[in-house]
Symmetry: C2
Subunit: 369 residues, 2 copies
């Protein structure tokens, strides 16, 4: 299939004009008496260059579980609702944000980002996407911020791109979509990335993608590799590998962000803390300076994306405190209005709500107040 | 290495006599003013026959992640502390139970049970273990109950053994240690087991083992395949496969039990409920009669084994209610006294505590009150 970017863009422009996007029911947020600044921190987008590369990728074979998502999201013509929404920055997205009282989207390239392309293509796509997204942020600094992408499989070039986007675009954070060609970031060959993030004082959002090939089999039925289950297993496992691999002893100020209420880890911290010293005494795992949960509390923040249940929110507040939780929607895969209603109606203090809605994001992503 | 059961038994008897077991600090339970009957529902044991077969298994090659556990637990001579404790029913176990105010152990064959042996051997070991354990239960019906084992990979023979142990020994439940040779029970070829359990009105405890080979790779470092993380991923994934595979539409009265506060599933129920209908509409998963969480609440109970944190307990009480939670220690892998202190000091009502400590176990495992 020939790639025709103009056809693609023409089609989604037509869809925008026809009002075919925005499947969300846009209700007015129920709101409290306090006016919160609502900064949503895991909001996906894409660029025409990335779409073109995804369409080429979709033609080839790959054992990756993400190929289903790649083929169903990027190939159909006319574009799927999700693809159209991902490509849209200033039209329906802003209208829905306005209707739902969402002040700002912290934009990031939709998973799996550039991580299914060879390193050269991944580096070049990341740079062009970062520059395009930075243009939108520059045009509307009250409405958009961004997390920059890079190619984790080219760690030295990644570190340079990280420095470049901070210098050139004042970018406030980065995003990595879990494994890259089935490799995890606890391997020290990737640590130039962590060194750069720590030096630049910018967090890395460790976003889900479908499970790596080495753990794929039980997730290949019932769509279990998806957001329903496999995303969390993949990303929670990755995050725990980083803790147990000593990443945060080497980079004590590094901050990571996990979506979806911490990808399950908050539920397990006590059990992990209980078993780690037993396994250490048996010589099965290397020495850490602190308990695993100490790293989780010091080096991780979590977001509420796609986990809109007050019980889980209150549990996480108890376990982690209000300074380590941020609000997120996961647009366009989740709708904006319910995410606002969820947080507006959360039975927590206004002070905590303000931290979760905006204060923490302003602090960790360097967003002007 | 020649197998010498008499040497093995002689050694652990000598260890018992020397007081070398019971690494637990046995504190007196802090207790409330109410006297609770404390029934612990996930308490491991083994039998000399199984140990002999495990030692033979340990000599051979196997890609199973459980082989590390098999070799470290069953091979060392003199026996490890854990093996000695697993083989002991009426000596140190009862003393520690008395000191910790534990009324009853619901005994089960330690994971992976008979599930690493060929079907013929597995059937015969299960039968001999069930009969031996039933002898201990018969001798001390106030102190012991049991969950019977069978060979899931011989489903028809399993169903016969299930009927036999209920008829002959009045057994109140069964145990399966997650996958069997990497196969999961959502495959209808196993459903004779569920049919029998439902007809006999006896629950099946779906106990962890290490991840199946198809998901092994990311768990092979940092001892992550263990109780620290992989057990829950394996078993939670298995349980969700059963829900999504329609097991509980076919067997609506079947009851399963998950340890370790539900192997993560309670944390995710809202997200699973949210994504299931989206994936169904896309044709990616088959129709279910109810929401996934409805099955979890109707067809599952959870236990507290190895997750001794009041925050998680209170979260689960909110999500599932006190009728679906049972107390468990996971002896000898967890100590008895802390498990009692955890539940005695739980900030919940005495009525809920009584359900969790004994009422639910009496009801679902047919334990005389």
């Amino acid at each position: 299939m020939p790639l025709d970017r103009r056809t693609l863009l023409g089609t989604w422009s037509a869809m925008l004009a026809a009002g075919a996007l925005g499947g969300s029911t846009v209700a007015t947020a129920t709101g409290g008496t306090t006016r919160f600044r609502r900064i949503a921190t895991e909001e996906a987008c894409t660029t025409p260059d990335v779409v073109e590369a995804m369409r080429a990728l979709a033609q080839g074979p790959s054992p990756s579980l993400d190929m289903g998502l790649v083929r169903s999201t990027y190939v159909p013509n006319p574009p799927t609702r999700w693809l159209a929404a991902l490509l849209d920055f200033e039209s329906e997205r802003l209208k829905i944000m306005d209707a739902a009282n969402v002040d700002m989207h912290v934009l990031s390239l939709s998973s799996p980002g550039v991580q299914m392309f060879d390193a050269d293509l991944a580096c070049s796509l990341a740079t062009s996407a970062n520059d395009l997204m930075a243009d939108y942020v520059r045009r509307r600094p009250q409405r958009f911020a961004m997390l920059a992408s890079f190619a984790p499989h080219a760690p030295e070039r990644a570190a340079k791109e990280m420095q470049r986007v901070v210098d050139a675009h004042k970018v406030g954070g980065f995003i990595i979509n879990s494994h890259t060609f089935n490799e995890y970031l606890d391997d020290p060959k990737f640590w130039a990335i962590f060194e750069a993030a720590e030096a630049l004082q910018r967090p890395i959002y460790l976003h889900p993608r479908q499970p790596s090939e080495g753990m794929a089999v039980p997730f290949m039925e019932y769509s279990m590799s998806s957001a329903m289950w496999g995303f969390a297993v993949e990303t929670g496992t990755h995050a725990l590998r980083l803790i147990l691999g000593g990443v945060f002893d080497r980079f004590p100020k590094l901050q990571l962000v996990l979506g979806h209420m911490g990808e399950g880890l908050p539920y397990y911290l006590t059990r992990i803390d209980h078993w780690y010293p037993i396994l250490f005494r048996e010589g099965r795992v290397a020495r850490l300076k602190m308990r695993p949960s100490d790293y989780f509390r010091r080096n991780f923040l979590i977001t509420t994306s796609g986990m809109e249940t007050h019980d889980v929110l209150q549990f996480c507040l108890t376990i982690l405190g209000a300074d380590r939780i941020m609000w997120a929607i996961d647009y366009p895969f989740e709708d904006m209005a319910p995410a606002v209603r969820f947080m507006d109606s959360a039975p927590i203090s206004d002070a905590d709500k303000a931290r979760i809605y905006s204060g923490n994001a302003e602090r960790v992503f360097h967003i002007a107040t």
